[in-house]
Symmetry: C2
Subunit: 323 residues, 2 copies
């Protein structure tokens, strides 16, 4: 039975990872760490033994206590200050926090459980801007991050390689592209748009105008359930020190997504571009190649975009009744 | 008259920069910041008005007071925890300190003097290992740092680009290769070797054995007086957001340097390899291209290696009499 430590436990990816393990009958002992309590249940599981520790990863002593006694096989490091927008508002704090929590974790691992395998989750923001003829982006492309958040992710990756090659720590790295799926917070664009549109459909919102940033930007959206499948397969088959894109391999603009959602909901809307939501130096088009991930792990994308959007709509539809 | 702020003021590069400005009759008002008092004099100058502020750049409020009242034209950011060896011993603290002092400085500049021009000093350690057929290393090569210190320097560079492109701050970047010259501390390899050899020559050290790390490694050593000339020319002619190698363009092994120094001193020595001084993942050969620096600024290397070594020997010769 594997022992798995999950940081950023209360987030949306972690919730789906627990669901994935349970659904696939993978018996595990799990400790989750997060600064916030999870808003999902994890007690009624058949295959998982889950415990939750509430503290901030900025506090090294707590990490040491947990890891020393737990001795995990796998560490899924999901915790991060992952808002690109926030990183533009407060570049210094955003950068520092991301790096310090990562280094705290790594220093403790080096000291008390140097044989565990770590999945260090990075971001497509590491790549920066690529011209269309260079797409899809492959792992060997140079990294030219344009946001403070992107720089922090590159640093995390490069530090991981230092720990891997210099200190023999077993780390696998991802550059994860945009995740979507039911349960995602509405600070993320697709979830936010879906919520606004469901409100219009239900008549909770009287005006059929939605506010959004640049709708021409194209992103490589992947369902979170495919993401956690990739993460688990990387724990099993990933090569230490290697980086893997976790992405769908195709791009969709925000505009197209709006069309699909309004089609599913059968509503007409007006779009209002909110300049507050535009970011300096935003990447126009990001599409990744998932060839390396597929070849190494046998992973395949299973959930098409339309199904993701239907499930996100169903999530908001139910949640907005309760609220 | 230009106003120049120098961080890492008490270091060896700063001392030579002051000397350079004075020697070239460049009238300047200067404020130096350092956590340690300088051990050189800066009061008897004809062309420079120099003030020193003793504090740690980890203290943001002090930086803000200084910059708000001084309003520098140029900021020469030399301060860093620059020991690669230390970064291996304490990767977390070394990384954090380098990045936090840089971000503190940038956040204050963004707030109180956003029009000044900054020279952000980076390192050849950013490149990582290159095979011989790729040398000399050009600025457009990918960065694959292998030490925690190297990663911190890459982060500083990428954050600089974020501040430059995202916030319109005027930053010029260097990747500076190994500096040598009179006055350098003996924690750096050439200075340390020269000191040991001068001691042997003078009979202060009875045994003619010197302890060193790997003597086959090849570095691109440049005299600090050529380095500060490059920095000043970059302030004048560098292009915002661009990175420049500051290097001599040729490589010399530690072994060859030992031969030159023992030749100058006319002594015979035994070499003892000290495993404590070997580092994980050390780069074998580093040679840079200075073509871009030359083309942009008209800079030319002036001081040949042998003269640097003679001057370093003269420095230790005099200093070891006083001690």
């Amino acid at each position: 039975m594997k022992k798995i430590l999950i940081t950023g436990f209360s987030g949306f990816v972690s919730a789906h990872y627990l669901h994935y393990l349970e659904k696939n009958k993978i018996q595990c002992e799990i400790i989750g760490i997060d600064v916030n309590r999870p808003d999902f249940k994890f007690s009624n599981t058949k295959y998982l033994e889950v415990n939750f520790n509430k503290y901030d990863l900025l506090e090294s002593e707590n990490i040491e206590k947990t890891l020393f006694s737990f001795q995990p096989d796998y560490v899924l490091h999901l915790a991060s200050y992952s808002s690109v927008a926030y990183s533009w508002k407060n570049p210094s704090l955003s950068f520092q926090n991301n790096i310090i929590i990562f280094l705290n974790l790594m220093e403790v691992i080096r000291k008390v459980c140097p044989l565990c395998r770590i999945l260090s989750v990075g971001s497509s923001e590491e790549y920066g801007n690529y011209t269309q003829n260079m797409l899809p982006i492959k792992e060997e492309y140079p990294l030219n991050p344009v946001s403070p958040y992107g720089v922090a992710r590159v640093s995390q990756e490069q530090l991981s390689k230092v720990y891997c090659n210099g200190f023999n720590i077993d780390i696998i790295l991802t550059r994860s592209f945009n995740h979507i799926g039911p349960g995602q917070k509405d600070v993320f664009v697709i979830s936010s748009l879906a919520k606004q549109l469901v409100k219009i459909k239900k008549g909770i919102e009287k005006e059929n105008t939605i506010r959004t940033g640049d709708i021409t930007i194209v992103r490589d959206f992947l369902d979170v359930r495919d993401v956690v499948d990739a993460y688990h397969k990387l724990f099993q088959h990933g090569k230490s020190g290697e980086v893997y894109n976790v992405c769908g391999g195709m791009g969709t603009s925000i505009e197209e997504i709006l069309k699909i959602i309004t089609g599913i909901l059968n509503i007409d809307i007006d779009i209002e571009i909110d300049k507050e939501l535009l970011r300096p130096n935003d990447n126009k088009v990001i599409i990744g190649s998932n060839e390396k991930l597929q070849q190494t792990t046998g992973w395949q994308r299973k959930i098409p975009l339309k199904q993701s959007l239907e499930d996100i709509i169903a999530f908001w539809d139910e949640k907005l009744i309760k609220e």
